[in-house]
Symmetry: C2
Subunit: 219 residues, 2 copies
DNA sequence: CAGACTTAATTGTTTTTTGCAAATAACTAT
DNA sequence: ATAGTTATTTGCAAAAAACAATTAAGTCTG
């Protein structure tokens, strides 16, 4: 039977993004075991065929282990494979990327955060993985509600505008951005809720039910 | 050591598209072994850690086994996993999709072709896989040169226009389409080459070197 | 061999989208 | 009250896209 052939090791790795101080950042783990013991790397682990229904469940397990709760946005990114990527042997890593608002992480003292423009050199093929994840993030930012998942439940149009500029890496016209976003129905005004501060109060928005169900269907 | 845990079975499956008689079609295989012996299914196989450098190499091996040569376009689609998708046990399938011009397949008598609107019910989770592949194809058609890989080396603007409409599933204005495509530099005129027939001859085009190198870099 | 026919390709016009600049609105701090 | 600052809207110009019609280039038919 074919399945008696030697099989690759199967693991999941997570590119877990957040935005702190307006900087897109990754949550990393300091490895507690060989190989690469002591180095910072993407959180990950082996798939446990006894407890994980599929690799997405494995990814959620890893994320919960790292930050204590589920990420609001989770999507499969790409599968990396080969004999050379891990010194333990031929391996397959199903990589997911996840977005978490910084507000949810703040109390969590243990997380190691690193802005994407200042990453250390990462073990395995994690450098490549990060590059691919950024590419996807940038790509989706131009036509989906994805970057909104980096924000907490309530946010202003300016917050959203900034996040989009961050992830796309370019300047966007405010008026056009506002227009296009509202037209897509991915966010909605929270009636009578404003962020008040030094100046004119800003209308608060939240993700619309349309955006949330689109995410459930992984669009 | 972690790697002594029970590991999932690792395989690759291929969604191999072509266009025959203006209909987007899939190349299927009649299974020669259990499970689902005798049924039509996507071509696939286990990853051979001795001979495959990575899952993409495994995918190429499967494709060569099926059609006798490499597909002009090949890209990783998605990884499907779980305990229920294959009766042999917890498995991971890294799925690739590939595009092949019908002209290259014509002489190959053994291939079983099936238009995507008239697929039989497929075993495993292959129905889902096909749905995902179509979605990706549709998505990419709107902004890339991808559908052009379904055509032979020389094609007319009308051929291309038809293919795009096929994969997107909507009508596209001829003048606008022409304009946008030419502006992107993904195809180029073949000087002095025309398809002659019953009426006005049509200029022949080919993929530009820009489109070909973009594919090499998997854009 | 003229003209009808058919498909290819271009051109012009209207409509929609986008980018830019300025104006208006709503607050706080002095 | 008013200057200062950020939020939001408005208006207009430029660009892109959709639509409609015209011109081009051949074959086929009587």
């Amino acid at each position: 039977m074919e399945s008696s052939y030697p099989q690759p090791l199967v693991m999941v790795d997570i590119a877990l993004f957040t935005i702190r101080d307006k900087r897109l950042s990754l949550i990393l783990t300091r490895r507690k075991e060989p190989p690469f013991e002591g180095l910072l790397a993407l959180p990950g682990g082996f798939v446990h065929v006894q407890e994980d229904a599929d690799t997405e469940a494995a990814a959620r397990r890893v994320i919960r282990g790292k930050i204590g709760f589920d990420a609001p946005y989770l999507e499969q990114l790409f599968t990396f494979s080969g004999v050379a990527r891990d010194p333990r042997g031929w391996s397959v890593s199903v990589v997911y990327y996840a977005l978490v608002p910084w507000a949810l992480l703040e109390r969590n003292a243990s997380v190691e955060l690193c802005p994407v423009e200042a990453l250390p050199s990462l073990p395995f093929d994690h450098q490549q993985i990060v590059a691919k994840a950024m590419e996807r993030l940038r790509g989706k930012a131009t036509y989906s509600s994805l970057p909104a998942f980096l924000l907490p439940g309530e946010f202003t149009m300016n917050d959203l505008h900034g996040i989009y500029q961050q992830t796309i890496g370019a300047r966007l016209d405010k008026a056009s951005f506002r227009h296009k976003i509202l037209e897509q129905d991915i966010i909605e005004e929270i009636p009578r809720r404003f962020r008040t501060g030094a100046h004119r109060p800003a209308q608060l928005y939240r993700l619309s039910s349309k955006a949330l169900t689109a995410f459930e269907r992984k669009i």
